[in-house]
Symmetry: C2
Subunit: 327 residues, 2 copies
């Protein structure tokens, strides 16, 4: 089976989507798309590499889900509506069962968001999955990182730290019950991109980012772009819905460390003026998704963890901000 057969069999026919803004999809030199009148294009690219972003024995179906999910999460952080994506698939060999399962996971999420596969590249080499996703958004309504204002509340959706626990457990760095590992691993490998939340935050949030690298690291990006600082109410966080049922079984310092350091959460971190508090409470109910206030935006740079020194040792506090893909 060659490159063109792989595309035809696992992707082209299957992913055909009936969207009248797609004029030409897989199978020409370029895909052709129309943009809705009065709209802007949002573009993001993310790559997943074997041994770096996922384990070699990962279920290919969840991998197909995750590689699109992390890209949709970027669209969500901008408040953009998913439109289409390209898939650049580097494969060590043609494994039909693997491709079938991978395509299953990818297709299910793509269909859920009417996000059409419009092209890409399939080639031989060490497993590497690159996706570029396109979304659209009414002009001027995009959520960006730079809009946080002093006094805004800081919000996080869902729960934090579950994916990190799974990663540490799978690497043998943290103990976990077998039953619990299954739910934690699902949080790591099958994140839910908060697309509906992102759309609802247009005109409500002042800034937003998706949590891929961990709460403190990603918060730092928002604060840097906005030229602000933040105070986090660490004790409140520990008593909030931000702590999953699984993390509640841990000692508070362990749970807090996982939540602050995080990584692979794919929740949204956003800021909003206090005047939006009621609207956000209603939105949380409507989406059936916790939206937790974790602190406030401050005028002066830096992140202050209120009460953290009473919970965490100095070494842990120091290490919390150092995550980087190449470190």
């Amino acid at each position: 089976m060659g490159e063109f057969d792989v595309i035809e069999r696992f992707f082209k026919t299957r992913f055909a989507v009936d969207r009248d803004d797609l004029l030409l999809g897989i199978g020409d030199d370029c895909a052709l798309l129309n943009l809705a009148p009065g709209h802007q294009l949002a573009v993001s690219s993310d790559v997943l590499v074997e041994g770096v972003h996922f384990f070699s024995d990962v279920d290919p179906q969840t991998l197909g889900h995750k590689c699109l999910a992390v890209n949709l999460s970027d669209l969500a952080a901008c408040g953009a509506k998913p439109k289409a994506f390209t898939l650049s698939l580097t494969l060590p060999s043609i494994d039909e069962a693997w491709l079938r399962a991978f395509s299953d996971g990818l297709y299910a999420l793509s269909k859920m968001h009417a996000c059409a596969l419009i092209g890409g590249d399939t080639t031989r080499g060490p497993l590497n999955i690159g996706i570029t996703v396109l979304g659209e958004i009414p002009k001027g309504q995009a959520l960006v990182r730079s809009g946080a204002k002093t006094g805004d509340d800081l919000y996080v959706s869902g729960t934090l730290g579950d994916a990190r626990w799974a990663l540490l457990a799978l690497n043998g760095h943290m103990p976990v019950d077998k039953g619990r590992l299954q739910t934690l691993r699902a949080r790591l490998e099958s994140p839910t991109p908060r697309v509906d939340l992102g759309l609802a935050l247009r005109g409500v949030a002042s800034a937003a980012i998706d949590l891929s690298d961990g709460l403190l690291g990603d918060l730092a990006h928002v604060l840097k772009a906005s030229q602000k600082g933040a105070q986090l109410q660490v004790l409140d966080m520990l008593q909030s819905q931000l702590v999953s049922e699984d993390l509640r079984t841990l000692a508070p310092d362990q749970a807090l460390k996982l939540m602050l350091q995080g990584g692979d959460d794919y929740e949204l971190l956003f800021t909003a003026p206090k005047s939006k508090a009621q609207a956000l409470k209603a939105l949380a109910q409507e989406l059936n998704l916790p939206l937790t206030v974790i602190g406030q935006v401050t005028e002066n740079a830096g992140i202050e963890l209120l009460h953290a020194p009473s919970l965490l040792d100095t070494e842990t506090l120091k290490s919390l901000c150092s995550y980087d893909h190449f470190v």
Copy 2:
């Protein structure tokens, strides 16, 4: 040096482009772009993998050029004007000298076409370079593969087969003088995307494709999409400007084989009605680029190589159509 330092140092500041249709580039969750009124978006993705698409000792500057060039070539084949691109860079380690040279080559071509780097991903792993390029095109004017009509002339730009000779020579499968290898290798590693030609072919060509996999393979894609066949005037091809000075030094059957099998030519193959012959002659002069008629589109499927059996042995004729990335 971490991921964010790499982006900042080698890409973000350097590639800043002043285009008023780019509202947000590198450094947020998504890039934001406007599309010109009455225009469509053209999108294409191509990946280059070490050991598959380039040698490990390739000059990183030419690699930076090539990975964007092959993507711009896809835009050219659609008649789209380059607008922006994302770069997904998987690197085994942070080699500053390598990154500087790579970024030099990428930047030079990006600047030449005012094609802005708007985002991407930088991660660790076996060397893999994925680019997704965005172009724009007035609605309804895109060149597609499916438009070839019976009786149209088949054209190819530039020269064919040089890159293939370079590849065979570098792999030790074909002899070459040292001096000659340098020019041939430049054709393999620094292809010129035919962007201006693609723009000029709007309203002139009936179908187009860029030659990445080889003349016969890519011609087959056009014919399949158009439900047509073709006759190639092999003797005329051998006496035309399609044969480079380098290939002229070979026996005719060797030259012909390289030209037909090709690969990595990144010239445009297009079809046009005979009524456009004068306009295309003038265009070739204007662009200072040979545009050679290699045959005609026929009603019945299949590619007929006129006079080829007198030049090539049966084995060679048989092997000409079998190229595929996974074979």
